[in-house]
């Protein structure tokens, strides 16, 4: 009995705790819907996402958003397993934009037409972005952000070997959108110019027969995302417009020419290293071993951190052809088996379409946005006039003028996989025509099932 009577201070605490629990209980029993989002765990992505979620939940107290995060490569496998098992626990999934068709065809995504009106869609995002999120007329996945490709120059190496660099965005210079647009239009280097410079910048500095400084390198070597611009610059699409045929496209003359050029980089002119994987290749530029690097805009903070003295120029093109840059990034879609589609759509809208959500996302994560509003904001904002933030201005220009999306085809995964192994073979010396002919045949065998 004695134990029941606590000293006054303790009983006060107990009372407060009871009242607090009662309070929490009443608040939470206000039936909140929880939606789960299957997404990335890489780098700062979850933190940025959580900021958006916090803002969303503040406005929508009866919806809670929880995350299931996975590293990049594992995310795809997990999506396959969960979607195939019709996991009702997943409401939203992050869709890598080229997979929209594939996921739609296989019934992983629920159409979002009832949540996003056609007008809304066209007004909010740049055309290539929302088109890429559409399949057979239905809006399947909303663009979360986009991407762009830049041409990075190691200024120190250019100076050291007395080679004239291209006109570029440089540290210490203030610039404007119009100035950058002019550089992109008039002073863009051609691939021939790149090779010329590369030959002068590939050196065996130690004299031991091994090359220590390479003239040029791709970011995502042999990957479709990176190399699509080569053939497209010459005017050759990868597959037929309906996405169901590769013969005549993948092995067209334009692509054979592009592939030959690619092969020569490694085998004839030897200005680019073999056997460097996409994961390792930025490391080489970051450690000062490569003079010119083409790759995604996400490399900017990375190279800054590594202390490389670099400049950013517009992405090269084939002379006689047109400038083309890779683009597209992550979209978000509603899982077909979800039982909370309306709430999921609400969040998707907040994140991708509404100004508040998309702005938080952009400011935190820093990837090139897909919404027209944000692109215009970047164009006019003061902070993007100095290096390296002016890279965004270049990104805006490319997004509006040269961006080409990856081919829309339900067979994208196979196309990309075969493309990669084919171009790796080409890189290692296999004849381009032979390799591409074989590849086209294999892709078509796969695409046949969709007809």
């Amino acid at each position: 009995m004695k134990a029941l009577f606590l000293p006054p201070r303790a009983s006060a605490i107990v009372v407060i705790l009871c009242l607090w629990s009662l309070f929490l209980f009443t608040v939470s029993s206000h039936a909140a819907t929880t939606i789960r989002w299957l997404t990335l765990s890489d780098g700062a992505w979850p933190d940025s996402v959580k900021k958006v979620i916090a803002a969303f939940e503040a406005q929508n107290p009866d919806i809670k958003v929880e995350l299931d995060t996975y590293p990049f490569r594992d995310l795809f496998e997990t999506i396959e397993v969960r979607m195939k098992a019709q996991d009702a626990d997943v409401d939203l999934i992050s869709v890598d934009v080229p997979l929209v068709a594939s996921y739609s065809v296989r019934g992983y995504l629920a159409p979002m037409d009832e949540y996003f009106s056609k007008d809304d869609i066209e007004k909010t995002w740049v055309k290539p972005s929302w088109q890429a999120g559409t399949y057979k007329g239905s809006f399947m996945a909303a663009p979360q952000n986009s991407s762009s490709q830049f041409f990075y120059i190691n200024r120190k190496l250019f100076q050291q070997y007395n080679v004239t660099p291209p006109k570029a965005l440089e540290p210490g210079k203030e610039t404007s959108y119009d100035e950058i647009a002019s550089i992109a239009k008039n002073d863009r280097w051609t691939w021939d110019q790149v090779v010329d410079a590369a030959k002068k910048l590939t050196k065996d500095t130690k004299g031991d027969g091994k090359i220590d400084v390479w003239g040029f390198e791709f970011d995502q070597v042999s990957r479709l995302y990176q190399l699509q611009c080569l053939g497209e610059s010459l005017g050759g699409p990868l597959v037929s417009p309906d996405g169901l045929k590769a013969e005549g496209y993948l092995n067209s003359n334009e692509w054979i020419k592009a592939a030959q050029w690619y092969s020569d980089l490694f085998n004839k002119w030897k200005v680019s290293p073999k056997n460097v994987s996409p994961a390792e290749s930025p490391n080489l530029f970051a450690s000062g071993k490569v003079a010119m690097f083409v790759g995604g805009e996400w490399n900017v903070p990375r190279f800054q951190e590594a202390g490389v003295d670099f400049a950013i120029a517009p992405f090269p093109y084939f002379s006689g052809g047109k400038p083309v840059t890779g683009t597209g990034s992550w979209h978000v879609g509603i899982a077909k088996a979800s039982s909370h589609k309306a709430e999921a759509a609400k969040f998707a809208k907040f994140l991708t379409e509404e100004e508040q959500g998309s702005k938080i996302w952009f400011e935190s994560q820093g990837q090139l946005p897909a919404t027209q509003v944000l692109l215009t904001a970047i164009e006019n904002a003061e902070k993007y006039r100095s290096f390296p933030n002016d890279a965004y201005l270049l990104g805006v220009y490319e997004a509006r003028n040269t961006a080409v999306f990856r081919p829309v085809t339900p067979g994208y995964l196979q196309l990309e996989d075969i493309f990669f192994s084919t171009f790796e073979d080409i890189r290692n010396g296999v004849d381009p025509k032979v390799a591409l002919d074989g590849a086209a045949g294999r892709v078509d065998r796969f695409l046949a099932q969709f007809k």
């Binding site: 098992a85 065809v105 019934g107 091994k210 067979g411 995964l413 790796e424 290692n428």
Partner: protein
């Protein structure tokens, strides 16, 4: 009566294992078999449509599939005897008695701790044709730099080397345990009889470790037929499909291309191959037994 109660006891002892196997192996395997006879519906996610042997027919007409069969057989005909022989050799080495053997044994055990993915990453860097360690050593012997993993004639054998690095060490343990059971008296007796070391080994020791040897051979064969991680991490089936073993082709078909039914059909073919190899090994040992 006696044999009936013996049978009963046996079944009881098997219940826990079989219950677990039934739920977590037999049932999924049955579903897998069934899955190989189906293909995916394009209307409802995950729904299966029975198509009979269509997946198999499709496979048999695919030249890439046949190339995978050939690569798989080529790999296994070499790697299984190689790993078992090396493991045996290492086990014998580990079984010697001299000062410092404990330290050496420690070193022999190291690959067990290193997971295969890490081993692959490190070996890949060492085999780099631009500036890897192995090529540097070859240069000392005036041998030109080899392309290794990016060359279609060499890649598969590089994978054999890497897998053997781990496999020989791992299986050595079991064979070494088996060697421990060979009583020293028997070996001593043979020594007195004047038999040479090799003769002693072949005539006396080897027959006495037949059971662990069969275990190692069968299990290693199964593991190698299903080998997948090095191809996944190092070569992605290339260059030019020269390392595209059936297991990798199945993984790609199922998890990358999303054609589960066809992937399962590839797995069934692979299983048939393994079964043939394993049954052959059992028979071989049984014959030698009698």
């Amino acid at each position: 009566m006696k044999s009936r109660s013996e049978a009963l006891v046996a079944y009881l002892m098997l219940v826990p294992a079989f219950l677990a196997l039934a739920i977590f192996r037999f049932y999924p395997i049955a579903v897998t078999c069934w899955g190989s006879l189906c293909t995916e519906s394009f209307v409802v996610a995950g729904k299966q449509i029975f198509v009979g042997l269509a997946n198999y027919l499709d496979l048999f007409q695919d030249p890439i599939f046949w190339k995978s069969v050939w690569v798989t057989i080529k790999l296994n005909v070499v790697i299984n005897p190689l790993q078992v022989c090396l493991a045996l050799l290492l086990a014998v080495m580990a079984n010697q008695r001299f000062r410092g053997i404990g330290f050496y044994r420690l070193l022999f055990f190291v690959p067990i701790g290193v997971s295969l993915p890490i081993a692959c990453i490190v070996w890949r860097i060492m085999l780099d044709p631009n500036s890897g360690l192995i090529d540097s050593i070859l240069a000392v012997a005036k041998i030109p730099a080899q392309p290794f993993l990016i060359n279609q004639d060499q890649a598969l054998w590089c994978i054999v080397a890497i897998a053997t690095w781990k496999g020989a060490s791992f299986w050595m343990i079991f064979l070494w345990a088996g060697l421990q059971d060979v009583p020293r008296e028997v070996q001593e007796a043979a020594k007195i009889d004047g038999a040479s070391q090799v003769q002693r080994f072949l005539r006396i020791t080897l027959p006495l470790i037949k059971r662990p040897l069969l275990f190692v051979l069968v299990t290693d064969t199964a593991v190698n037929f299903l080998l997948f991680v090095p191809m996944f991490l190092l070569t992605r089936g290339g260059p030019s499909y020269s390392t595209n073993v059936l297991m990798y082709e199945a993984y790609k078909t199922g998890f990358v291309y999303g054609q589960m039914g066809k992937a399962l059909a590839i797995v069934m073919v692979l299983l048939a191959l393994v079964m043939v190899a394993v049954v052959a090994q059992f028979r071989l040992f049984q014959r030698e037994q009698s």
